[in-house]
């Protein structure tokens, strides 16, 4: 009871906090002079810009974000991504360092670049704040962009920028550094002993550097993480994410009250619609094949068209009459994607789990299958048609299989020998192919490995299709989704007689 009194606002002060009064208060314009190249986007822009600029700047930034997202979907390594994005950034959203101009931060051209970066960020923030999904995607890609720029920033300017942030970091005293030297060296990979002694170290709460904690790249002691100066990026990034998330939440709340005529809203809507990426979601026409006989009984036969990840699941299911949770989820969604109905899917699983009783099945498994199909669970108006089938991206990056689990991507999650054995059991004995796969996997090009296997197993059919002229240029694309793998394989085997018709209609 007493506590509440603390929370109650002193009546004399209440007027100052009244949001209505606040809303109509004269906004305090803050002239920004952009002393640093980088920006944590804390202060919203307040100067006037033209409507054309509003739209153009946003579109330019959107281009960059879309490319960045595409890079992550294609599983490009950071250097590859940087190489791909840098020229685009130069073209659409240049941002030069102070040292690039003799006038330093005072240079007008530099200011204009930074203003564009600043304004475009806030326009997109507004455009992408409407739904949780958009917010999350936007935050993720903006963070990637920030990281990219941070990494390639001039070292001295980066340091100045970081210092201007005034983050709450405690410097590790020399003496403590000496006593912990051995632990610091061992905990922080890629750091020489000399650097440990010379470099600066910060002590921060471990919560601020989750990335470093998760990968065990930092020394922890009683809740504090000992971070070398070099790793400050991870902390700045955490700060960036945190601020952006909060900002997006605020923007989402402010959006309905946008005191606006009809000039901006259409632009914003247009922007957020154009943010749909091509390969993140799978449309029905990409996977399901109308007219194909797909039912519980035909899965065994069809499994020859499955990519290795699904074949592995299928074989394990047949061998053990059971799959663990993530295996069931990955496989169920894939089956949903190829067009197996919920009823058939339930029959399929019921028959597959031979060793359990109907009762156990109904109690422990039925719900999950229905949930995956969006038949039950959550809010009926929101669940739509359940989850989408997993893309390669998702399978490669999320939930690596643990002991006794057989989901995931065999190219990525199997040891070399076991992968070879698995490929051999699916009938691939060609030495060159196996060698090629091995090399791909070593370079972490799991897609290429999978596509190599596809090309090999379908060589004859592809040739035939090319001869017949039914092979279009688009069919050469790399497969990045298990369901497209299946569809392509199935179509090749069954000729053009199925499915092609629906593309004609489109």
């Amino acid at each position: 009871m007493i506590r509440q009194d603390y929370n109650r606002i002193d009546p004399k002060r209440r007027s100052r906090l009244d949001h209505k009064k606040k809303q109509f208060a004269i906004p305090t314009y803050k002239q920004q002079d952009y002393p640093h190249r980088l920006n944590l986007y804390e202060t919203p822009p307040t100067a006037e810009i033209t409507l054309e600029q509003f739209e153009q700047w946003a579109i330019d930034r959107l281009r960059i974000l879309a490319e960045l997202e595409a890079c992550s979907f294609r599983n490009k390594t950071p250097p590859e991504t940087a190489a791909h994005i840098t020229p685009l950034l130069q073209k659409w959203l240049p941002l030069h360092s102070n040292s690039s101009s003799s006038a330093g931060a005072q240079d007008e051209a530099l200011k204009l670049e930074r203003q564009k970066d600043h304004y475009s960020h806030f326009i997109l923030r507004l455009a992408f704040s409407s739904t949780e999904d958009l917010r999350r995607r936007f935050a993720r890609i903006e963070a990637a962009l920030f990281k990219l720029r941070f990494q390639f920033d001039d070292a001295r300017e980066r340091q100045a920028f970081v210092e201007s942030l005034q983050l709450d970091w405690e410097v590790v005293a020399e003496e403590e550094k000496r006593t912990l030297a051995a632990d610091l060296v061992n905990a922080t990979p890629g750091l020489r002993k000399q650097e440990v002694e010379d470099g600066g170290w910060f002590k921060v709460d471990f919560e601020t550097v989750p990335e470093l904690v998760e990968t065990r790249r930092v020394f922890l002691k009683r809740g504090k993480a000992y971070v070398p100066v070099r790793e400050q990026m991870s902390m700045v990034l955490a700060g960036f994410n945190e601020r952006l998330d909060k900002g997006l939440q605020l923007a989402a709340r402010a959006l309905p009250r946008l005191d606006e005529d009809d000039r901006l809203t259409p632009i914003l809507n247009h922007l957020s619609k154009n943010f749909a990426t091509p390969d993140s979601t799978l449309s029905d026409s990409d996977s399901a094949i109308p007219g194909a006989p797909i039912n519980a009984a035909s899965i065994d036969a069809l499994s020859q068209h499955f990519p290795l990840c699904m074949r592995n699941l299928h074989m394990n299911l047949r061998k053990n009459s059971h799959l663990k949770h993530f295996g069931r989820l990955q496989y169920t969604l894939f089956l949903k994607g190829i067009g197996l109905t919920l009823e058939d899917c339930l029959i399929f699983w019921r028959q597959a789990f031979k060793l359990i009783t109907d009762d156990t099945f109904n109690k422990e498994y039925r719900y999950n299958v229905r949930h995956a199909y969006g038949d039950v669970g959550g809010d009926a108006t929101r669940r739509g048609r359940g989850y989408s089938p997993f893309s390669c991206q998702k399978i490669l990056t999320e939930h690596p299989p643990g002991s006794g689990e057989s989901h995931g991507c065999p190219y990525r999650h199997f040891s070399g020998d076991n992968l070879t054995t698995l490929l051999q059991t699916t009938g691939i004995n060609d030495r060159d192919v196996l060698k090629g796969v091995k090399e791909d996997v070593e370079k972490k090009r799991y897609h290429i490995a999978c596509n190599r296997v596809f090309d090999f197993t379908h060589a004859a059919e592809i040739k035939k299709a090319k001869d017949e002229g039914s092979w279009s240029a688009g069919d050469n694309e790399t497969l990045v989704h298990p369901n497209t793998y299946f569809k392509k394989s199935f179509m090749l085997a069954n000729g053009a007689k199925l499915g092609r018709t629906d593309e004609m209609e489109m």
């Binding site: 603390y6 998760e214 990968t215 809740g223 299989p401 002991s403 006794g404 989901h407 999650h413 040891s415």
Partner: protein, 510 residues
């Protein structure tokens, strides 16, 4: 008391659940009914909750779908009518089976430490949102699953549990609003989890590929040492690296253990931070097919170096001697797979083939011996040592079910509930006496109810002498409840300090 007559009358319940049959469990149903009569007269010492008006007859109201209904009611009638003759002929009488809802009810009524559970989850004596907005999920006797239950106080939780008599219940997060009101909230985003104890789950089934003594749901002392090792390693890391202090380990009732970390800092962590923490502690990755499962960089991270130090002795004793994982040639092949040098492997294989039946301890020693003898010219001492360290870790390092730890919303079985398959109570494990903890010695619900009766039967009740003895104090559950009480008291003490600090801060602001 009719103990003698009923104890031998144990009949295995359904053949499908061999592991649930406890041949030494005495049958107590009749006794506790009588004891309860005494009790209702005397009034319950534990609380003033309104179950005191539950009549014996009510206790025996016909369940809806229990298979052994008939036994139940007929036996009960007999019990009521002929309370004294000890030789009352009891047919079959699988009464005291712990799956019996009546046994369950008596347990909740007389033994379950609701008060401390409340304080533990509420972090204070005074009811707050930490408890009121907390989700509980009940599994009812008919296997229906009730989610989003919530209660303003521990007494009301108790009341509802006595009403519904769930076979188990789970604890979820604290939400932004009362879980029961979640559908009345205008925006679905207004209802989200904000805090939960950080939890860990270790389950022996995850050790199936390396344990030789048992598999699936079965356990013995040998394989329990896996859990002991895991608790040691995780507990040390949580305390030394993350600075957590309020860590409680709980036996999961069958083949594993849970950890509940109640430090405020741990409770407030969002999913991303939980994931980071789980990642830090997780080492053994990879499915059934991924070959060598531990591939850690050198130098070893201080956490791993320390864990290796803890685990070394266990490896010698609990793995090499007790588990003897590479005794057979096929299994020894698995060991060879993990070693880096081909020539050395060939030499070892030859040696072991010529002397079958060598124990794992000898085989482990052979590795160094053969390497030193120069059987292989390519052997790299450092690589071999690292491979050996990796093997030690692979066979001893905790295998956590990390998904449980990663999400705030994950529900986890409450401490002190009865495991539905074994009848054992999910008791807290005192980490100071970790090595002494014996999962097979954990009391079952039927034993406990028997102990109450035995105690009451001895007539040791000192009536009118101030505080009456609480039921749990009459049983072997006593040390566990007391441990829980002390633990909760420690948590409350620290929490009070934090709260006062915050209030001071607030006061200063205004």
């Amino acid at each position: 008391m009719p103990h003698s007559t009923v104890t031998d009358a144990v009949v295995p319940s359904s053949p499908a659940e061999e592991d649930s049959v406890l041949p030494d469990a005495p049958l107590q149903a009749l006794d506790y009914v009588k004891a309860d009569e005494n009790k209702t007269e005397r009034g319950d010492s534990m609380s003033k909750a309104p179950y005191a008006d539950i009549k014996v007859e009510d206790l025996f109201n016909d369940g809806d779908d229990e298979d052994n209904d008939e036994f139940l009611s007929s036996a009960a009638v007999e019990a009521k009518l002929e309370s004294s003759p000890p030789a009352a002929p009891l047919p079959l009488a699988p009464l005291a089976n712990f799956t019996d809802p009546e046994v369950m009810l008596a347990f909740y009524q007389r033994l379950f430490p609701f008060r401390y559970l409340f304080q533990w989850l509420n972090h204070s004596m005074k009811p707050s949102n930490d408890f009121g907005h907390r989700e509980f999920a009940f599994t009812l006797q008919n296997d229906a699953y009730l989610r989003y239950q919530s209660f303003p106080t521990g007494d009301l939780l108790r009341k509802d549990i006595l009403r519904l008599n769930p076979s188990r219940f789970e604890i979820g997060p604290v939400y932004t609003a009362n879980p029961r009101d979640r559908k009345t909230l205008r925006k679905s985003t207004a209802f989200r989890p904000i805090a939960k104890e950080l939890v860990f789950d270790i389950d022996l089934t995850d050790y199936d590929e390396i344990r030789t003594c048992c598999d699936k749901a079965n356990i013995c002392h040998k394989c329990w040492s896996f859990i002991t090792m895991a608790i040691k390693v995780v507990d040390t890391a949580l305390r030394e690296d993350f600075g957590f202090e309020h860590i409680m380990w709980v036996y999961s009732g069958r083949r594993g253990a849970h950890a509940w970390i109640s430090d405020r800092r741990a409770r407030d962590m969002d999913d991303q931070k939980r994931k980071a923490l789980a990642g830090y502690l997780e080492l053994i990755k990879g499915g059934a097919q991924s070959g060598k499962k531990v591939n850690v960089k050198r130098p070893l991270h201080p956490h791993l170096a320390r864990s290796l130090d803890i685990l070394k002795d266990h490896f010698q004793r609990d793995i090499l001697e007790d588990q003897d994982p590479w005794a057979e040639p096929e299994k020894a092949e698995r060991l060879l797979q993990l070693l880096p040098d081909k020539a050395l492997n060939d030499a070892l294989r030859k040696k072991w083939d010529s002397a079958p039946g060598r124990s794992s301890t000898s085989k482990w020693a052979d590795i160094d011996a053969v390497a030193k003898s120069g059987a292989s010219k390519t052997v790299d001492g450092k690589a071999l040592l690292e491979a050996k360290q990796d093997i030690v870790l692979e066979y001893t390092y905790p295998r956590l079910d990390v998904e449980v730890s990663k999400k705030q919303i994950h529900l986890l079985k409450s401490p002190f509930v009865i495991h539905p398959k074994t009848g054992r109570v999910c008791v807290p494990i005192d980490t100071r006496r970790l090595a002494k903890f014996d999962p097979l010695d954990v009391p079952t619900v039927t034993e406990l109810l028997g102990e109450i009766d035995e105690y009451d039967g001895r007539g040791l009740r000192e009536e009118g002498e101030g505080k009456s003895t609480q039921d749990y104090e009459k049983t072997s559950l006593k040390p566990f409840v007391e441990y829980f009480r002390t633990y909760v008291a420690g948590l409350l003490r620290d929490e009070k300090g934090i709260k006062r600090e915050r209030e001071d801060d607030d006061a200063m602001e205004f």
